[in-house]
Symmetry: C2
Subunit: 205 residues, 2 copies
DNA sequence: CTCTAAAGCTACCGATCGGTAGGAAATTCA
DNA sequence: TGAATTTCCTACCGATCGGTAGCTTTAGAG
């Protein structure tokens, strides 16, 4: 056992609350005092547990990737039909708001605009861009596999489709954060998928 | 003539500089001191000329609407072929970065994420959302006209198309701000327009 | 029970935030 | 040349920012 006084709060649980705050308010919109109040811990305890604000944000972003990102990627891989897989991703973005206490949209998309300002630490900007790239690459991998399965519309380029749907997800993320209605967003998803008729999957000849 | 000491700076010219700063750094990323230094004017002069920070941002946003928004809407209306009109809008977003000293993307899209934080003045959040809505409505008007002209793909719903392309523009705005390459963005535009083959316009039977 | 190590807190640091008081400078009107 | 008016700037306000010094409290090791 480790010596010393044990920590009075759960690190992961606390990180989930902090994540939600950064998500809603942005990197410099959420002050350390506000965060400390929200999790019911004094400010120095935050610094003891997570370092400075930059490393705290990076930890929250990593937690988001582990919790939400991995889940989405797993769902993307698990669905056998590529069209249904990407449709599930788009619908998840549409339905994102009230699933739990999380804000609407996607934390990475929100942070992409929030963290482009020059005074944001370089490491934070880099982490956000890296996660945006990794999302597009996850899509590309899924579409490459679909191409091998003969599961793509004829003549479709997997990487181009990944860039396209990645951009569309960013757009939906902005709309969700701006308070767009679910109906409007569903309409967008329908329009975007309308060009990709079902039935290409090899199990649906 | 008005009595009193004449203003030493041009209001519109100054507003253009301030607009660019808000665009890059966001509402609270750009401090009044930073703005004053950038335009070469003392801080109290800013308050004399524009009121407080909130009204200064609203003035900058209105200037953006007059300068860039109106130009895009005019181009959208001027192009007779609806497909070419929306293609021009998408390409303008792709090419937005180095046209002048302006940052990449679109100020409204950037502000949509930046101004969703709870500590941003209500009027600012409302103005941003209103401009986002007005953009979609401008697209809808253009597509309604195209529907009358028989200039839309068969069975297309003008309002759904407006929501779709509006969302796509938001996505491109995020990508541009996140530093996506022009080639990747062009690929996205190609994918998005690929489903809308040319030749529907009545002058191209 | 004592010592050590880790975590808790109050109270504070300098810097910067948005915003303003109050006087000097510049211009028109009489 | 005054008086009136408007803009300019230096210097300052309280509040809040990220971050920390230093003491107290809680635990295990001996």
């Amino acid at each position: 056992m480790v010596r010393g006084r044990p920590r009075s709060f759960d690190r992961i649980e606390t990180l989930d609350q902090i994540l939600a705050l950064f998500w809603r308010e942005g990197f410099d919109g959420a002050s350390m005092q506000q965060i400390a109040d929200a999790v019911g811990v004094s400010k120095p305890s935050l610094y003891d547990a997570f370092g400075n604000k930059e490393s705290l944000f990076l930890a929250a972003l990593a937690r988001y990737a582990d919790r939400d990102g991995q889940r989405q990627i797993a769902a993307l891989e698990a669905e056998a039909d590529a069209r249904l897989a990407v449709l599930g991703l788009l619908n998840a973005m549409v339905d994102s708001s009230p699933i739990c206490g999380s804000p609407a949209g996607c934390m990475v998309v929100a942070s992409a605009s929030l963290c482009a300002a020059s005074h944001i630490p370089e490491a934070v900007q880099g982490a956000v861009r890296s996660m945006l790239d990794r999302s597009t690459e996850a899509l590309a991998r899924r579409f490459e596999r679909a191409a091998c399965d003969g599961d793509l519309p004829p003549g479709a380029d997997p990487r181009a489709m990944a860039a396209y749907f990645g951009t569309l997800l960013c757009g939906l993320g902005v709309q969700a954060r701006a308070g767009a209605s679910r109906d409007a967003m569903r309409q967008v998803v329908t329009s975007a998928m309308g060009t990709w008729p079902p039935g290409h999957h090899r199990t649906q000849p």
